[in-house]
Amino acid sequence: MKVLMLGWEFPPFISGGLGTACYGLTRGLDQLGAEIVFLLPRPIEPPHAGHVELVAPGTGRKGGASAYGMPGKFRHVQFRALDAILVPYVSPGEEEEGAEAGVAGGRRRRGVRVVGKEQWAGPGSPYQGDLFYETQRYAALACEIAGEEPFDVIHAHDWMTYLAGIAVADLTGKPLVVHVHSTEFDRSGIHVNQRIYDIERAGMHRAHRVIAVSHLTRSVIIQHYGVDPRKVEVVYNAIDDDGLTESRPLPPIRHDEKIVLFLGRITMQKGPEYFLAAAKRVLEVMDNVRFIMAGSGDMTRRMINLAQEMGIGHKVLFTGFLRGEDVRRVFRMADLYVMPSVSEPFGIAPLEALANDVPVLISKQSGVSEILTHALKVDFWDVDEMANKILAVLRHPPLQATLRSHGSIEVRRLSWLDAARNCLKVYEAAVAAAR
């Protein structure tokens, strides 16, 4: 099976779970012998130091594309970076300073930089730049590459690449699979950006098969996008086995206080205000607890103010965006990881917490809650119940121990190889459907 894969982020150029998912899935497919040409937008910044080495291309540059191979990690995968600039989320730490500094040539509203001839990213939208133009450019370049490479199926990840997917499918007649890692409803609640919705809908309807990262997302696809249920399959994400086998979790860092951790973008979708409300209830019962909010996002300032207003500012620590070793360190300190997401199509972060031996409390409004048995679950709005469960973990070491021991086994059963196998089945179905 030869796959033309259309992505927008990939380690080490990554702003969220999508890059992690693309990496894991591509590795799994590679191990199963699938041949993949992975099209990526060229990164704006030089790569951060990472465990993936990008080497100079063996093939020449054509159509504004450069090809890369990643020795050691992948056998059948060729990476191509296109000269499109796609940055779906404001880069970490940038939004807060930017909101005050202002930048010539662009307007800023509520921390969002709006550039270009057309203001299409609405107020509060996490997107920056003229993405609409960039997605069209990406589509045009993808068509050029598609003409050079033989392949059996097109696999497009999230709406940014759907225009490209549709264009290549129209051009080549090859079957299109779109992979929905999140929808506009997850990102923006009820304030849906109509143009993004339209692109998502067009991609899903044009596709021969749609992959949803959870049943939660599958039902959104069916109900909000009117897609035929028979062509929507669920393929769950997994966790990179490198992190599990190569380095065992480090021993916890000892500290006198109990630590409850929120780690993720501080945006409406992630429910940070519910975390703070629960923290307040916890602190009414128990004093020696500290709440860490690790991450950045357009609600950071509001959350700092909210914690002050609630009178728990001294108990809540905002760390900003953490990477690599800092993430591992904060996991080693945490007694509990909480993901109070209002809407989470999947949610890889709880898997990372479990892999680091930290028990998790996740919202029932998350895809990952469909596959985790050994996790505490709560409705994101049920702040009292969230506090009830946080307190139980902090007060009853046997609960923490049982969650931890079963959870770490459960998370090790989730494999990208299985996810890749399921993807291959979807490809076969798409190929059959296209005939």
Binding site: K258, R281, V285, N288, T373, H374, L376, K377, D384, E385, A387, N388, K389, L391, A392, L394, R395, H396, P397, P398, L399, A401, T402, L403, H406
Partner: protein
């Protein structure tokens, strides 16, 4: 001669209501849910099954005989929520063809944690059986057939001469549960061992259409029983009464099976039905059944892991029984009853984190989505009970 010994267990716990750490109410139990479940089971199982058993006793003029064990907890619920079902058990008792067993009143694991509490609960239950059914139990079964040589010794000391337990392969070896056994060291009781294959054919497999023996007819099952004839004395069919109408729904034909079985069993004239004490009186023990470690009838493991398999369960049990002295010192009957209701083994069964082929069984009438929720709820209730005793949180609770 092979004697069929039916023993039906009847128990439902008093389930806890959702009890948050922020709750301050002294009301721990979910009356509405307990009423609903009790009345549903009475309608689907107790009443129709009692009806069939009554018919059979009359039709065969006492040659059809069965044994029951009802926990004190279910009897209290029947008194409140389904008095007609309780009345039908009393009528069965009056036929003289039914034996009632002794057990712990609160369907508890007290034997493992407090011998004094265990004895008090057995005595309470014995008095209940005498008052309600007019008979003094002669045979004993511990909660969930939890058994070891020590249980036999304790039962013997209480005057019982018959004890029921699981017929586990790893202890029986080549021997068969169709014989009677004695514990070691001359403990003066006879043991009746559950024939788990034939019991589970009814309790777990009866309605399973993927089972190679489906459909299980009374004729076929009577033939299997008859095979024991000449190779043993008893076929001990021990199961939850909810098998009839709940676990095996009426649509599976389970009531018709029960209704027809005696005819086929009794047809040859070679086999009969006896209550457990009657069987123990009729047959000699054939050997020694040495059980040094705790055995139960639960799950494939047949051990205590369904109630004590993880740190949450042992912590909850340990903290609960740690309050015994303080509770009893108050002399407060409401407090004592609440504490005892928390002892029902079901509360700890709901905390079980083994997920295997037995997972389905763990879901029967389980009010929780997860074992963790069940632990959290239980510990919150226990915290409140502790506050009624004027005690703070135990030192284990990570201060």
């Amino acid at each position: 001669m092979a004697s069929v010994c039916f023993y039906f267990q009847i128990h439902q716990p008093l389930r806890l209501r959702r009890y948050s750490v922020f709750d301050r109410s002294g009301e721990y139990f979910d009356d509405q849910r307990n009423r609903e479940i009790c009345q549903r089971i009475a309608q689907r199982c107790y009443l129709p099954a009692n009806q069939v058993i009554t018919e059979l006793i009359h039709r065969y003029q006492g040659r059809f005989r069965v044994t029951y064990s009802l926990s004190g907890v279910i009897i209290e619920q029947l008194q409140r929520f389904a008095p007609d079902a309780l009345e039908s058990f009393r009528k069965l008792a009056a036929t003289g063809a039914v034996e009632f067993l002794s057990e712990t009143y609160y369907h508890s694991l007290a034997f493992l944690y407090s011998r004094e509490e265990f004895l008090e609960q057995v005595r309470l239950h014995r008095r209940l059986m005498e008052n309600l059914f007019g008979q003094t139990p002669r045979a004993f079964r511990n909660t969930e057939l939890i058994y070891s040589n020590e249980v036999a010794r304790a039962a013997a000391a209480l005057g019982y001469r018959v004890v029921l337990c699981e017929g586990a392969d790893h202890l029986l070896g080549y021997r068969s549960p169709t014989y009677l056994y004695t514990p070691p060291d001359g403990i003066p009781v006879k043991l009746l061992l559950k024939n788990y294959r034939l019991s589970d054919d009814i309790a777990f497999r009866f309605g399973n259409r993927n089972w190679s023996e489906w459909p299980l007819t009374a004729d076929k099952f009577a033939q299997w029983i008859d095979r024991v004839n000449g190779h043993g004395y008893v076929v001990n069919l021990f199961m939850d009464y909810e098998t009839f109408g709940e676990h095996q729904r009426a649509e599976t034909g389970i009531f018709d099976f029960l209704r027809c079985l005696p005819e086929y069993v009794l047809a040859s004239g070679q086999n009969d039905f006896r209550t457990v004490s009657e069987a123990a009186a009729a047959y000699e023990a054939s050997g020694e059944y040495d059980v040094p470690y705790m055995l139960s009838w639960a799950d494939t493991e047949r051990d205590l892991s369904a109630w004590l398999g993880n740190a949450m369960q042992s912590s909850a049990l340990h903290e609960l029984y740690g309050l015994e002295e303080a509770v009893k010192r108050t002399g407060d009957p409401v407090l004592l009853r609440d504490w005892r209701m928390l002892q029902s083994s079901d509360h700890f069964y709901y905390m079980c984190t083994k997920y295997s082929a037995d997972g389905v069984v763990h879901k029967y009438f389980n009010p929780y989505d997860s074992p963790y929720d069940s632990f959290i709820n239980f510990m919150n209730v226990l915290d409140h009970l502790r506050s009624r005793l004027g005690l703070g949180a135990p030192s284990a609770a990570g201060r």
